[in-house]
């Protein structure tokens, strides 16, 4: 038997050679967006280490400190860089924790969407026929209810049925489930469309001729070839999920005030905006806008890189 070769170009070397890396190096906007996004991600992950206060710990909150403006304003306190909210929590710490909550919900909800959407989309596209019609009609029905409507009904019913206390404990899980389930058809449709194109290609015939089973062909051969639309849609969907969560929180159906997300922070500050405490709403609002914008721009860039033939107007 022959000796086994061990010359394998490393992943890193392959990556540095790729079109992906080259276009990233040339695109300032992409670099900037990626920078901001990774910064937000790092801040969110290490929030407990970075934040000067723990907004979940009521012992650290003093109601006497409430509604202090940011430190650069005349009445500001140097202790609270971005001021405090109505309950006297340090706004900087609360935003860090809020970003953490928002990103967790966004990413987990999208993972759930992707999980459902990929399985359903692959099955519909590859098996076709009746399975396809059935699954896609279900998707149509799901899409005909707006995400907001589904979320509001489910969350409101849950709150009414099981009480606010249980709801507050399970708020994050509920939000992930609701946003995840309400948006899977986006994935399913995108994936089905690319599966329909992929399954006509000869490598799928070749795989069938080799005697591979349906599941193996679907997941190992077709799925990797539909990865680029999945990546693109994921960035946009995370941004959408974060917005959806923020809107629900703003309506009082999202995260409770004791564990605020960016959305519930904005909403809690809204009551005080006319008494002059603009920072409670505006600063988290800016963070949210920046986060969503950066993700959408990254998604656009990704789409251009992965589909070089796309017309760029």
């Amino acid at each position: 038997m022959d000796a086994l070769p061990q010359i394998k170009p490393s992943m890193m070397a392959r990556f540095k050679d790729s079109h992906f890396w080259h276009s990233f190096k040339r695109d300032r906007v992409a670099q900037f967006c990626f920078g901001i996004f990774s910064l937000a991600l790092l801040l969110a992950i290490f929030a407990p280490l970075i934040a000067p206060f723990d907004p979940y710990d009521s012992a650290q909150i003093d109601i006497m400190n409430s509604e202090l403006p940011p430190s650069w304003e005349a009445e500001g306190d140097a202790q609270f860089w971005l001021g405090t909210d109505a309950q006297g929590r340090d706004l900087w710490s609360t935003i860090l924790y809020g970003t953490r909550v928002s990103l967790t919900i966004g990413i987990c909800a999208v993972m759930l969407q992707a999980f459902l959407g990929i399985i359903i989309g692959l099955a519909a596209g590859y098996i076709g026929g009746r399975v396809d019609s059935l699954l896609m009609r279900i998707a149509d029905v799901q899409l005909s209810f707006s995400t907001m409507m589904v979320a509001i009904i489910v969350l409101a019913v849950f709150q009414a049925a099981f009480g606010t206390e249980l709801y507050q404990q399970l708020a994050m899980v509920m939000l992930i489930l609701v946003i995840g389930i309400a948006e899977w058809p986006q994935y399913a449709r995108t994936i089905r469309a690319s599966v329909l194109a992929e399954k006509e290609k000869e490598y799928v015939d070749a795989a069938r001729v080799m005697g591979f089973g349906t599941a193996r062909i679907m997941f190992r051969h077709i799925l990797p070839n539909t990865l680029s639309p999945i990546l693109v849609i994921s960035t946009v969907q995370i941004a959408n999920a974060i917005i959806a969560e923020a809107s629900l929180s703003f309506l009082g159906l999202g995260m409770p005030v004791s564990q605020p997300s960016l959305g519930s922070l904005i909403s809690s500050g809204f009551e005080y905006i006319f008494s002059g405490a603009w920072w409670i709403t505006v600063i988290p609002g800016l963070v949210l806008v920046a986060l969503v914008l950066v993700m959408n721009l990254l998604g656009d860039w990704l789409r251009d890189v992965l589909n070089p033939k796309l017309y760029k107007g």
Partner: protein, 328 residues
């Protein structure tokens, strides 16, 4: 017992306008290690025949009648699960376009190892060693680096060699090659065909070569089947068919080869086009294009009858044979 025996195979496609018969009454036999060519124009049913042998006609097509006996087992009636142990394992298939038949996102090694491990219980390391051996058999330069490369990093000829290596991975008894060299340029084409003949002879593998190129068929195969509109119209040893074609259609095909035309003259061609399968003329399907058409040709479909060393389905040939018998 022959390796492969196809008896009265009929394949239909259920379309909205009604069912269309793509293959009618196809019968032939193939011995171990024999090389058979299937020739015909586009749409004659060559590829459908290839796919129906491994029972992989995609919907709305289906095998309506007949049997495909592989070592005595009827593949047309086999369950999908059993069929999968034969596909790739005992019967391999090679397609036209090597650019398309390899999965673009998996390395060559991954694809070969996966194929081996789908049919045999062996470790990844062993599978890699076998893959390497097969790549050496098809004369790929520096095979160990190729294993970790992606299909787009290789040239067309190299990819077709890899596809052949994948076909040989599990030491099949039969390879069905569906126009394996059409997408390659002429020099590479000759190399690949030579390679296939060598590999088939060395491993005693039978080959069914589906092509529209009579030149390739004459170099590679021992026996040839000529198809027209879903039927076998002439069948016999390749040498006899090339040198002494009896069916007017086969004669036309041979005359249409570029080397048959005289210098300074236009290339020969068969006038007209093949009829669609849903509006076949009555009688012989070739009659509207045939120069020697007889009244009988419009009435009855000629049966495949023995004539010399070949079997031919043509009223003219039958009549001439009858006449010569009478004269004797």
């Amino acid at each position: 017992m022959p390796l492969l025996e196809v008896n009265n195979l009929e394949v239909c496609f259920g379309l909205r306008q009604g069912s269309v018969t793509a293959l009618r009454d196809i019968s032939f036999q193939l011995e171990r290690g024999e090389r058979l060519g299937i020739v015909g124009e586009s749409g004659a049913g060559k590829s459908v025949l290839g796919f129906s042998i491994i029972n992989l006609i995609s919907r709305p097509g289906f095998i309506n009648k007949g049997e495909v006996l592989f070592e005595g087992k009827n593949l047309a009636a086999l369950k999908n699960k059993e069929m999968r142990t034969i596909r790739g394992n005992r019967i391999a298939m090679i397609f036209q376009d090597p650019m398309m038949t390899l999965n673009p996102v998996l390395t060559i090694g991954d694809q070969m190892v996966e194929c081996l491990r789908a049919h045999r219980k062996i470790s990844k390391q062993d599978a890699r060693v076998i893959s390497l051996q097969k790549l050496k058999q098809v004369y790929i330069p520096s095979p160990d680096t190729r294993l970790d490369q992606y299909p787009h990093e290789l040239s067309g000829g190299m990819r077709q060699r890899i596809v052949i290596a994948i076909g040989l991975l599990l030491d099949p008894d039969l390879i069905i090659a569906d126009e394996p060299t059409t997408a390659l340029d002429v020099t590479i084409q000759a190399e690949i065909m030579e390679l296939m003949v060598e590999l088939c002879e060395r491993n005693n593998v039978a080959l069914i070569l589906i092509t529209h190129d009579l030149g390739v068929v004459s170099e590679v195969t021992q026996r040839t089947i000529v198809m027209y509109a879903g039927r076998v119209i002439e069948e016999g040893p390749t040498k006899e068919i090339i040198n002494d074609a009896q069916h007017p259609y086969t004669q036309g095909l041979i005359n249409a080869l570029p080397q048959m035309a005289l210098p300074g003259q236009r290339l020969n061609q068969i006038r007209g086009t093949m009829p669609g399968l849903n509006d076949l003329p009555s009688g012989c399907a070739f009659s509207p294009r045939c120069d020697y058409v007889l009244p009988a040709c419009h009435e009855a479909i000629p049966a495949l009858t023995k004539s010399g060393g070949c079997n031919v389905a043509c009223h003219l040939v039958t009549e001439q044979n009858n006449l010569s018998e009478v004269n004797e």
